[in-house]
């Protein structure tokens, strides 16, 4: 069975501060894992380190996608192995057209010999997805994330996910800053993917888990997963907070 396998992962910032202190997690295709935890516990670092952010150095442990060790690969190669990161704070790149960027990304991720997507086909796909996500404005002709509202940025990440169709995705707080309706739209989009996605969902709130029901819930504190359980664990945290676990 295809899986994303994280074994005893340790990661530090470039100036030597250890953030991840031995994270192990296995995500099989089709599973949804929620990671919760207090601020500063290392959730975002885990997301970024998984995808190869140059600001973090992996000092120990490994990351495998479908049996291939990707621990030391550059971010673009990790993406080509099927890993996607939904950013907590999507980055603005001015002057780079959203649709052209996405087309380049989709074509880059195609395997050799696979047919490239045409601009027109992509436009249609983007328009469909944008409709599902209730984008109020035309996204195709805008620059990548530039001038997007907070909610639009989050939706645009999910739109990219839906079109890039990775096998595994890490979504870093896709729900933060979203209103109830936007939350519904992105959840619906994720749930309506027509293939089994292995998903790591980082969140502070129980709210999104009403829509996207996790198979597993993990609590991450001080760079480690200290407790794992099912959806009930998330409800327990919502009531009692993290302090009881410390």
């Amino acid at each position: 069975m295809k899986s994303l396998n994280i074994t005893n992962l340790h990661a530090s910032t470039t100036d030597g501060k250890e953030i991840l202190r031995g994270v192990s997690l296995k995500v099989t295709l089709g599973e949804i894992h929620a990671i919760m935890g207090p601020n500063g516990g290392g959730k975002s670092t885990l997301a970024q380190a998984l995808c190869g952010h140059p600001g973090y150095i992996i000092t120990q442990g490994k990351i495998e996608v479908n049996g291939t060790d990707i621990t030391n690969l550059s971010p673009d190669k990790r993406a080509k192995h099927g890993l996607f990161l939904g950013f907590q704070y999507p980055v603005e790149v001015s002057g780079v057209n959203f649709a052209s960027f996405l087309r380049l990304a989709i074509n880059e991720n195609k395997k050799a010999g696979e047919k490239k997507i045409s601009p027109i086909a992509l436009r249609n796909q983007i328009t469909d997805e944008a409709k599902q996500l209730a984008f109020s404005q035309d996204i195709i002709n805008r620059s990548l994330n530039e001038g997007f509202s907070g909610g639009e940025k989050k939706k645009a990440e999910i739109l990219q996910l839906a079109l890039l169709k990775p096998e595994f995705a890490v979504l870093d707080e896709p729900d933060s800053g979203l209103d109830v309706d936007a939350l519904k739209y992105i959840s619906k989009t994720i749930l309506s993917l027509n293939y089994p996605l292995g998903l790591i969902l980082i969140t502070h709130y129980q709210r999104i888990l009403h829509y996207i029901k996790p198979d597993y819930v993990h609590i991450m504190i001080k760079g480690k997963i200290i407790k794992s359980g099912n959806a009930a664990l998330a409800r327990e945290i919502e009531e009692k907070g993290y302090e009881q676990l410390l």
């Binding site: 600001g55 550059s74 950013f87 980055v91 620059s143 890039l164």
Partner: protein, 465 residues
């Protein structure tokens, strides 16, 4: 990010043809040389006087001690005048084969056929080819080289020559006034809209050459013209000097857009004075792209002299290994309700240096004037450098003045973001750079925009690890 030797190994205009001059002054500069040039050109007496006076000014002015390092220029080791051909041509077929070959490689005749109203081509000191489509000629448009204009329209030339940029303006304007040769002369009659661009192409072929073209554009009331120039040179081990003067008069309600894509080879000092006088309700635009040269110092200026005059400068600089692009713009508000915008974008890579140097001046009485300056610099590595030298002089209360500046390293976050989507580092960098300059590129004719993107991608090839 690693820096690697690259940049102008990809310079596709680096070839040169054997030099076959028909008239060439000896190296160096003297009143005799200036007289020889003027005599050879059979000029009226007043022009010779103007040249000799300018030479004195040049010799008495010290080198600018601000801006780029010009210590590499040896004025005694340059040829100030080289005439490649005895005459000028109106038919492409008649241009001498070696010169034609050069322009064929650069792509001039194709460009003319495709999208231009007229073409001029200057080879070393002389414009050897000039062509204006009949349609425009019939409307009274003049597009010729400045030497021919001096012979055919002496009164017109005399009325405007040196009035916007006098010889005493700066040392290199003085040098140009003393030894000028070639350049374009454009006259657009009242109310005529030249709907497709005029283009001039400047080429230095000989080694140790000084090219001093002199361009004069007069747009009469309510007229419109867009003028484009491109510049290339071969790669020699010794330096050449390109020191042009461009004077433009935009009369009441007229509009002029002047676009330059400068891609000189890396041994050319490019020291150019450009100024536009913009009258009431008229609109003048400089689009100034600096990609090549060893050193460029160029600050296209807007002199807003009429009520409600508008001006815009879009400056793009790309500095690679061994290059210093000292570019920017000036806006002088001499009348009420004038507006100016200066937008500067610079990219530095492989140890290249780019500087923004700009000035906005609003005199007392220019009430209701507005000026906005924005300069953004992008550094692609640790070796490269960017500086900003803005000056604002405002002597009027009732004005709006804005200035925004940013310097960014190629963002680690931006790179990571793009790469996390499966895009390789080199491609991601190129996307970011092209996105950065997009606001200026979109103002260029399509052919130029495509060529610019190609040049920049070539220049960056191998610059990221």
């Amino acid at each position: 990010m690693k820096a690697q030797p690259i940049v102008k190994s990809n310079y596709k205009f680096g070839f040169h043809n054997p030099e076959k001059a028909v008239f060439k002054t000896p190296k160096g500069l003297s009143p005799q040389i200036v007289q020889a040039i003027s005599h050879f050109k059979n000029e009226p007496e007043w022009m010779l006087k103007l040249r000799l006076q300018a030479l004195m000014i040049f010799q008495n002015k010290s080198m600018p001690n601000w801006g780029a390092d010009l210590s590499g220029i040896n004025f005694d080791n340059l040829y100030y005048y080289i005439s490649p051909s005895e005459k000028k041509f109106r038919n492409w077929e008649d241009v001498p084969a070696d010169i034609k070959d050069t322009y064929d490689k650069i792509g001039i005749p194709q460009a003319e056929r495709k999208f231009l109203a007229g073409v001029g081509a200057q080879y070393d000191s002389e414009v050897i080819y000039h062509r204006l489509k009949d349609k425009w000629e019939k409307l009274g448009v003049i597009f010729t080289d400045t030497d021919t204009a001096l012979q055919k329209y002496p009164d017109l030339v005399r009325e405007y020559f040196g009035t916007i940029i006098p010889a005493a303006d700066n040392k290199f304007a003085a040098l140009n006034s003393a030894v000028w040769s070639g350049g374009s002369f454009v006259y657009i009659p009242k109310g005529v809209h030249v709907s497709i661009p005029l283009q001039a192409y400047f080429r230095i072929n000989a080694a140790n050459m000084g090219q001093f073209e002199r361009t004069l554009i007069i747009a009469e009331e309510g007229s419109y013209v867009s003028y484009i120039e491109g510049c290339t040179a071969p790669i020699y081990s010794t330096d050449s000097l390109h020191s042009a003067v461009v004077e433009i008069i935009v009369k009441k309600g007229a509009r002029v857009r002047y676009t330059t894509i400068q891609n000189w080879s890396n041994n050319v000092y490019n020291l150019v004075t450009k100024r536009m006088l913009i009258e009431e309700e008229a609109f003048g635009e400089w689009i100034d792209g600096n990609l090549g040269s060893k050193v460029t110092m160029k600050y296209p200026s807007l002199y807003l002299t009429g009520k409600g005059a508008r001006g815009e400068v879009l400056s793009l600089a790309f500095a690679g290994r061994g290059q210093h692009q000292d570019a920017g713009g000036k806006a002088m508000h001499f009348a009420p309700y004038t507006t100016s915008t200066i937008t500067s974008k610079s990219v530095s890579v492989n140890g290249g240096r780019s500087s923004y140097r700009g000035m906005v001046k609003i005199i007392n009485g220019a009430k209701g004037s507005k000026s906005f300056v924005r300069c953004d610099a992008l550094l692609l590595d640790e070796l490269s450098r960017s500086d900003t030298y803005p000056v604002n002089i405002v002597n009027e209360q009732d004005v709006t003045l804005g200035h925004e500046a940013s310097v960014s390293k190629i963002g680690e976050q931006q790179l990571f973001y793009l790469m996390s989507r499966g895009i390789e580092e080199a491609q991601a960098t190129s996307l970011i750079v092209n996105g950065f300059i997009e606001p200026i590129v979109k103002e260029l004719p399509l052919e130029y925009a495509v060529e610019l993107n190609r040049l920049i991608n070539l220049s960056m090839e191998g610059s990221v690890g």
